[in-house]
């Protein structure tokens, strides 16, 4: 109950104060450069990795990236940069 109230409060604040949502609501910020690169901030860990599929843990749910010949260029505690040919981006609700 309190959590929900807090979330609502935060959502209202971001809207009314025009603040970036990723900061306020702990959401991933995803930057893509064509099909070549995908840069995800605010992830919560790597769940599965192969050259065709990357599954990332998010604060809420998961992110599934599909494509070909993936390599992770850099992975840091909250950032990940994936290189390859990106075809699909799917949010999985957990």
């Amino acid at each position: 109950m309190t959590k929900k109230w807090g979330e609502q409060m935060r959502s209202w604040l971001t809207k009314s104060l025009n603040l970036p949502e990723d900061v306020m609501m702990d959401l991933p910020r995803i930057t893509m450069i064509g099909q070549l690169h995908i840069y995800i901030e605010n992830h919560r860990g790597l769940l599965a990795f192969s050259d065709k599929e990357v599954r990332l843990m998010l604060t809420k749910g998961q992110l599934l990236i599909k494509g070909q010949s993936f390599t992770i260029k850099t992975i840091l505690p909250e950032e990940i940069l994936i290189e390859g040919k990106i075809e699909k981006l799917v949010y999985l609700d957990g």
Binding site: L46, A48, F49, T71, I72, T74, I75, L76
Partner: protein
């Protein structure tokens, strides 16, 4: 993102993770704040990635609790390069040693060539060189430059007219010209002896020819002293007149000398500095102390470093600072006069031929002005005034005519 160059200097390790749950292992690593690059899946079971060498301990720690297999299969970057270099250090040391040895050997005297000298002279030169430190197997650095060697040799060795000194790589070449002992005088053609300058004849010493002047006679320049015609009347022969005619000649000189002179004398204390010079930059290698001399003289010797006969753009410089002290010397008027006189005398003597002799001197004028003494001196010098003058055809004709004209006159006496 981490700077790739920084990572290169710190060293990069390549890790292969085999087994189930390689992703979990990576998650654990990033949670313990290890940046990871280049993750790629090799097969169903295996993942490779790279990370910085400085995090290898963290990777090891995580690996302990991991059920799969972890291998560090490659290293890149500076620390690994160093390691490889260290492994092959023998080679590197050998390379450096090789150049050092070549450099040293290129700066050693290997040969001393002496050309144009008699065996005796050559031996003498070699001995003199050895005492100067120019010897086979010695370093060229410590030696004087060729010009100094040349000067020293010329000063030390009698009978040496000229010596050419050349340093070619590690060889000294000396080209010697010996003084030729004066040989028997060439037989001159018929000649007269005439006066070289105005003089009063003091002594006649005729070996050949007929004297035409007497003692105490004043002669002008070019006047006939000893005739090359001998014999009487019709039978006149021409000979090369030979002999000495000592005449008294005069020289007038003026000298000027300050009564007090300031000059610098060396106290004997000195500071030496050694340095390498690369173009305009100088790197001191020895003697870092700065000299504390108020007055000093600086002496700089530059030795070039050669490598296999080539001159390197590096010079070895030896600087010596000699401490000096100012002293002044002052004369009384009397002393100053004597000194000036001695100087004038010495000056004149150096100009005169060896046999000439100063017979007397007379101070004509002395002035003491502005702390200077000014003398004008008259010297009387005894010297040989006879010089040869070849007899030409015209002379002969004249002489004959003269003889004939004079002949009757003499008879009448």
């Amino acid at each position: 993102m981490n700077n790739q160059w920084l990572a290169f200097f710190q060293g990069i390790i390549f890790v292969k993770v085999e087994g189930q749950g390689a992703e979990r292992f990576i998650n654990r690593l990033i949670r313990s704040r290890v940046p990871i690059w280049q993750v790629s899946r090799q097969s169903e079971q295996a993942i490779t990635f790279s990370c910085s060498l400085q995090h290898i301990h963290k990777v090891r720690r995580e690996a302990r609790t991991f059920e799969g297999e972890i291998r560090f299969y490659r290293g890149e970057g500076f620390p690994f390069l160093l390691k490889r270099l260290w492994k092959s250090s023998g080679f590197v040391v050998g390379l450096v040693a090789f150049f050092v040895v070549i450099l040293l050997l290129s700066n050693i005297v290997w040969r001393i060539d002496i050309g144009g000298a008699s065996p005796k002279m050559e031996h003498q030169i070699r001995k003199e060189l050895a005492s100067m430190g120019v010897e086979k197997g010695r370093f060229i650095f410590g030696m004087d430059d060729p010009e100094t060697i040349q000067h020293k040799l010329l000063n030390q060795i009698e009978g040496l007219t000229w010596i050419g000194v050349e340093v070619k790589g590690s060889t000294f070449h000396f080209r010697v010209v010996e003084k030729n002992e004066p040989k028997e005088k060439k037989k001159n053609g018929p000649q007269h002896l005439v006066a070289a300058k105005e003089a009063v004849v003091v002594k006649l010493f005729v070996k050949k020819g007929q004297a035409t002047v007497k003692r105490d006679q004043f002669v002008h320049k070019g006047q006939l002293l000893v005739s090359g015609f001998i014999g009487t009347e019709e039978k006149v022969r021409e000979v090369a007149a030979d002999g000495e005619v000592l005449g008294e000649t005069w020289y007038k000189t003026t000298v000027e000398m300050p009564i007090t002179t300031e000059f610098q004398v060396l106290t004997g204390r000195q500071v030496k500095k050694h340095m390498f010079e690369v173009q305009a930059f100088r790197f001191p290698i020895w003697g870092f102390k700065s000299h504390s001399f108020a007055n000093y003289k600086k002496d700089e010797q530059v030795h070039s470093v050669s490598f296999v006969g080539m001159k390197l753009p590096i010079n070895y410089v030896e600087k010596t600072y000699y401490e000096s002290r100012r002293t002044s010397r002052s004369y009384t008027e009397k002393e100053a006069e004597q000194q000036a006189l001695a100087i004038a005398r010495g000056d004149l003597e150096s100009k005169l031929p060896e046999k000439a002799e100063i017979r007397g001197q007379k101070i004509l004028q002395r002035q003491f002005t502005n702390g200077k003494v000014k003398l004008s001196i008259h010297f009387q010098v005894l010297e040989n005034i006879a010089v040869g003058k070849p007899i030409t055809q015209g002379d002969k004709e004249n002489a004959r005519r003269k003889e004939r004209n004079e002949h009757p006159a003499r008879k009448s006496e």
